[in-house]
């Protein structure tokens, strides 16, 4: 890539970053300008991508067919014939926009109905793919099969049969870990029993424990999110103080 072009590209990025970060001071006109610039760029980019990467290869080319032109002989050979029936997809798709007219809005239900039908048909398989394995893996063994050692011993240097024996055992440390998992899942599930009164020490205790464990879980999720946000800020600083300054040094310092 041309060095000057690359430097300008980085410089515009730096100005845009500063413009957007200026909102940390207060909402400025600079911030508003770059916010709108980003929105406009994203919308424009999406429109082009919609044609280039979606409508053309998945619809237009299939409807009109495609041919390969040899760059040397300039002779074209047909790769795939066009299927005119793809043309019917356009009016079906356009029917979706009839939702805006009072007289014809019933027609918008046709494409929506097709989509909903496909969607509903897939749900059984999808549900099982997503949750089935998780339900199965929730059944964890909690009783250790050996007490030879508290944790699983290092076995890389042992003969294969001994390695296999060690791998097949449930050591107390893993059993405790599994027990914590099982208690957590039962307590968290008990928190969501709303169909009857939580009476008795066991049910009340389990409900309270479930609430506490959920809060701890949300705290961990929030912590992970905060960490992610910090990294985004660090990346912007790296963009300005490392990448841009490095390129500026190369451009003007010859380094």
């Amino acid at each position: 890539m041309n060095e000057t072009f690359f430097w300008w590209k980085l410089t515009i990025g730096v100005i845009a970053t500063i413009g957007l970060y200026s909102v940390l001071y207060r909402e400025t006109k600079l911030y508003r300008f770059f916010e709108h610039l980003f929105l406009g760029l994203a919308a424009g980019f999406t429109l082009v991508a919609l044609w280039k990467e979606t409508l053309k290869p998945l619809w237009w080319d299939k409807m009109t067919g495609s041919a390969t032109i040899d760059p040397i002989t300039n002779v074209s050979t047909m790769d795939a014939p066009g299927y005119w029936v793809y043309g019917f997809l356009l009016p079906i798709g356009l029917m979706g926009y009839l939702v805006f007219t009072k007289r014809h809005n019933w027609m918008s239900r046709i494409p929506i109905g097709v989509i909903l039908g496909f969607w509903s048909g897939q749900q059984v398989q999808i549900w099982w793919n997503r949750w089935g394995a998780q339900i199965y893996s929730s059944m964890q063994p909690v009783w250790p099969t050996t007490t030879d050692s508290f944790t699983r011993p290092y076995s890389a240097d042992l003969p294969a049969p001994e390695q296999a024996y060690i791998a097949a055992q449930l050591y107390p440390s893993q059993a405790i870990s599994n027990l914590i998992f099982v208690i957590t899942i039962l307590a968290a599930l008990s928190y969501f029993f709303f169909s009857f009164d939580m009476k008795g020490r066991l049910l009340k205790g389990s409900n309270t424990l479930g609430r506490w464990l959920l809060m701890i879980g949300f705290g961990a999720i929030f912590g992970s999110t905060v960490m992610a946000r910090f990294v985004l800020e660090i990346d912007r600083m790296s963009y300005i103080f490392v990448e841009w300054m490095d390129q500026t040094g190369k451009m003007f310092g010859g380094g």
Partner: protein, 322 residues
Amino acid sequence: MSKPEKSFWEKAQAIDRRVLYAVLIVCTAISLFFKTEIPVNPDDSSKDLYVSLMTIDPNKTVLIESDWTNSTRGESAGHFEALMRILMNRNIKFVLYSIADPQAPQVARDALLRIQEERKAQGLKVYEPWVDYLDLGYFPNAEGHLQAVGNNIRTAWGGRKERDEAGVERDVFTSPVLSGVRVVGDASLLIVCSASATIDIAVERLYGKVPLGFMVTGVMGPNALPYYQARQIVGMGVGLKGVYDVEYMMTYGVNYRVEGTNKPKVSYREESVTIPPVTEGTTFDRGARYFLPLHVALALMILAIILGNVAMFASRKKRVVA
């Protein structure tokens, strides 16, 4: 009547947020210039992902779903770059595609170009499009697309064309990258490098059809953990820690003991697995560069929370005494 003078703790509670932002920006920017290696014990999920990547059949193609844009460059670029380095180091062919955002393919292309230029400068093999990798671009309707890939990958991607070595546009299934792929399971692995809920769609539509691996942001990490716990995915890297974990394992290997030492730097639960360090190309990069600033930022936040709480209790006590 003059206002009563504020105590130190009252002033501490009223620090302008812009001062805090300035301190954060200055501290993280300065710490970017210090290159320090922070010893870590990589997460089990990162180890599993790395071991999978280093042990898959190099003759099989890897599918990469790149669903990130510059809005999560801090984390996702590190994941993507490490993935590129690993695959290129092992000479594995790969296919790139996106389903989350029309901007995602271009962002992935830019990151790929950076790695290609880096490898060229290091005198390493540069990947050729069509021969070593395919860039299929963006597919709309994430759910419908992955459903189609799971049902029949040849139909789902059949219409796509790329230029071959001679510059002639041809069907992607005639390229050396996809010629051996009849069903999605013919790929050795599908890696989803994502900052969005496309990880859920991948599990819903492709679980059981092809081994899945995730490289996700810190925000998506907790969402993806149940999939790892239930073994629906082979492994995953989460956020910057995941990036650093992978870079650390590339540098030091897994279960790899340097002569004269008793313990490996990174030990793995399956002790029969030994992966030596990656010897060519870059290993420590974006993850290592951002890891210290992240520690600085977290330390600042913890300090601010402690200061805020101590100040609140101190000023409350003062009010009660008064």
